[in-house]
């Protein structure tokens, strides 16, 4: 039996439908990510799970309990917000203890649990600091500790890393995953960042215009996109329409042909499929080329091994693409 079961969930705001027939089954201890561009309905789904929005239709069960219309304070679901939502009038320790005070626990018990969770999120020494005295990463760790200390049955994270700079985002991302695994906490993570989704998740639901476009493991979604939207969103796929596909590869297709940039091999010289380097971008360990061939511009990624390997702008090259790496999408 699934831990969280969502069936035919929908949400309308006036005439505007923001979530259409959303279905999800989440196993205990699983981390699932809702991924999509802004306005795709992912946060609305999360808010319905939290109880902040009432669904227009469908049902939501946690375990054997119907939670569709249960008020948020009775759900036992922890939430971490993009804006941290720390109480400005309380220091870190008081923020973390807030939920335990609402449960009317004894002060000694509160102190012990707060100390435990402070250690877990590595916030030692910052307990007496007010939110305004903490950096973004520290604030988000206080928010995480505050959500964890009440031992929620489930954790919801609404773009918790979006407001942080890249270095802190990466370290906090790893910390969240590590804590989630250690506690075996069932978690729903919302993000628009595909890298975040790929590194964190057990499963990903890619959403577009209120609907789930595709659902699967990070590996499946990255290598086997089923639609043009997923292909574009999950990576820098080359998407060829039927005309381009015929011109470049001589293939007759109905939808689009998706080819990952790293699946195209490029080398100097001539071959069956020839092109010219039109642009070169150095992305650290990757070199990204724009190669023009038969009137089609392809993005090609190559490992940046050494400076001698770099292909110069305007140089003629030949392209090699394995048929298995070409994927027809709708």
């Amino acid at each position: 039996m699934a831990f969280l079961e969502i069936e035919h969930l929908s949400k309308h705001f006036g005439r505007h439908t923001v979530v259409h027939d959303f279905n999800m089954q989440l196993q205990a201890g699983e981390l699932v990510t809702l991924l999509g561009p802004s306005g795709c309905g992912k946060t609305t789904v999360l808010r319905m799970i939290a109880g902040f929005e009432t669904p227009s239709g469908g049902s939501l069960r946690v375990g054997d309990q119907d939670m569709t219309r249960t008020p948020p304070q009775q759900r036992g679901i922890g939430m971490v917000f993009q804006s941290y939502a720390l109480f400005p009038n309380m220091n870190a320790e008081q923020n973390i203890a807030f939920g335990l005070k609402m449960q009317k626990l004894a002060p000694a018990q509160i102190a012990r649990r707060v100390a435990d969770v402070v250690r877990l999120v590595e916030l030692g020494g910052k307990e007496k600091h007010y939110p305004q005295q903490l950096s973004g990463g520290q604030r988000q760790r206080v928010a995480l500790a505050r959500a964890l200390v009440v031992e929620p049955r489930m954790l919801l994270l609404d773009e918790p890393l979006s407001a942080l700079d890249a270095r802190i985002r990466r370290s906090l991302r790893d910390q969240i995953r590590e804590i989630q695994r250690r506690l075996g906490l069932t978690t729903v993570f919302v993000t628009h960042d595909q890298e975040e989704a790929l590194t964190l998740s057990d499963r990903i639901f890619v959403m577009n215009q209120g609907r789930v476009e595709q659902e699967g493991t990070p590996e499946t979604l990255y290598t086997q996109p089923e639609s043009e939207f997923v292909a574009r969103f999950m990576g820098n796929y080359n998407l060829l329409d039927p005309r381009q596909s015929a011109a470049l590869l001589g293939l007759e297709i109905v939808g689009h042909l998706a080819i990952r940039p790293e699946a195209i091999h490029v080398q100097q010289g001539a071959g069956a499929l020839n092109g010219i380097i039109r642009q070169r971008q150095l992305l650290g360990n990757i070199v990204r080329y724009q190669v023009e061939s038969a009137g089609v511009t392809l993005t090609v990624d190559r490992l940046n091994r050494n400076a001698g390997d770099l292909l110069p702008h305007g140089s003629p090259v030949c392209l090699l693409i394995d048929r298995a790496d070409m994927r027809e999408v709708r």
């Binding site: 939290a50 922890g78 903490l134 009440v150 370290s171």
Partner: protein, 268 residues
């Protein structure tokens, strides 16, 4: 060197403003000190401060002011909070309603009260002193509404009401706990601003208190002004001092509140 004319203009404007505001005040101060012919003295102040009616009316207005502040905050804070949280589309309408006391004269409110709660009404509040006191407090809450609502609403605007509420809810807090532990403490400065403005309004108010025949400070000021020469000037200075003290307190409280929030750390 372009800034010289504009800087001169600013100084001239400040000088004009200073003279415009301070000259009458200075004249009143000097006049209030000239009760004795032999020279300057605080005789007018002594007369006023020794007057039992001054102490009684001032004490009464202070008490009514405090009750007005409490009732105003109890009414306005949850309303403004709820409008921000759940009914944001109603904000223009609510703002318009709270502005009405600025365009409807106090005398209209009092006559409305007298008709609705007069001795022949179904609820004859004006029939006894406590009932009339209640009407006076309600009238003052109405008069203070534009200032109190704006102060509280701008305070709410400065905090992320929705996220803080949802965070508290997800931690198991009910509405009462959210208001008490989250909203009120974070609105302290805004509520104090509104409270001092309310107090300033109540202390000097004449129309409602006079027509409801309550022994407030406003009617006392008018009575003294109509019958004495130097004492009204002394009273005016005392009233100014009280208002300035209130404003000074507001500054102190706001500064102390800000001092709790030093600049954020820049590293993890």
């Amino acid at each position: 060197m372009k800034s010289a004319p504009s800087s001169l203009g600013a100084w001239l404007a400040m000088l004009f403003g200073g003279v415009y505001f301070l000259l009458p005040l200075l004249a009143t101060l000097i006049f209030s000190l000239k009760m004795r012919r032999e020279g300057y003295s605080f005789a007018a102040y002594q007369v006023v401060l020794n007057d039992v009616n001054f102490r009684q009316s001032f004490g009464y207005s202070t008490l009514v002011g405090l009750l007005t502040i409490v009732l105003g905050i109890v009414l306005v804070v949850p309303t403004a909070y709820w409008v921000r949280l759940k009914l944001p589309r109603w904000r223009p309408l609510i703002e318009f309603i709270t502005l009405l006391p600025l365009v409807i004269p106090a005398i209209v409110i009092v006559f409305g009260y007298l008709r609705l709660y007069g001795s022949n009404a179904w609820l004859p509040l004006t029939g006894n002193a406590r009932g009339t006191d209640l009407l006076l407090v309600c009238g003052y809450v109405t008069l203070a509404l534009p200032y109190l609502y704006r102060a509280v609403d701008s305070g709410l605007g400065a905090m992320d009401v929705r996220s803080l509420t949802e965070a508290a809810q997800s931690l198991g807090a009910g509405w009462r706990s959210i208001l008490w532990h989250v909203v009120f403490p974070n609105l302290r400065s805004a509520m104090l601003s509104g409270a001092f403005l309310t107090f300033a309004i109540v202390i000097g108010e004449f129309t409602v208190a006079s027509l409801l025949a309550r022994p407030a400070f406003g009617p006392y000021l008018q009575l003294i002004g109509a019958n004495r020469a130097y004492e009204p000037a002394a009273l005016a200075m005392i009233a100014f001092a009280i208002t300035w003290a209130a404003m000074g307190l507001l500054q102190v409280v706001t500064r102390n509140h800000r001092a709790l929030a030093p600049p954020s750390a820049d590293s993890d």
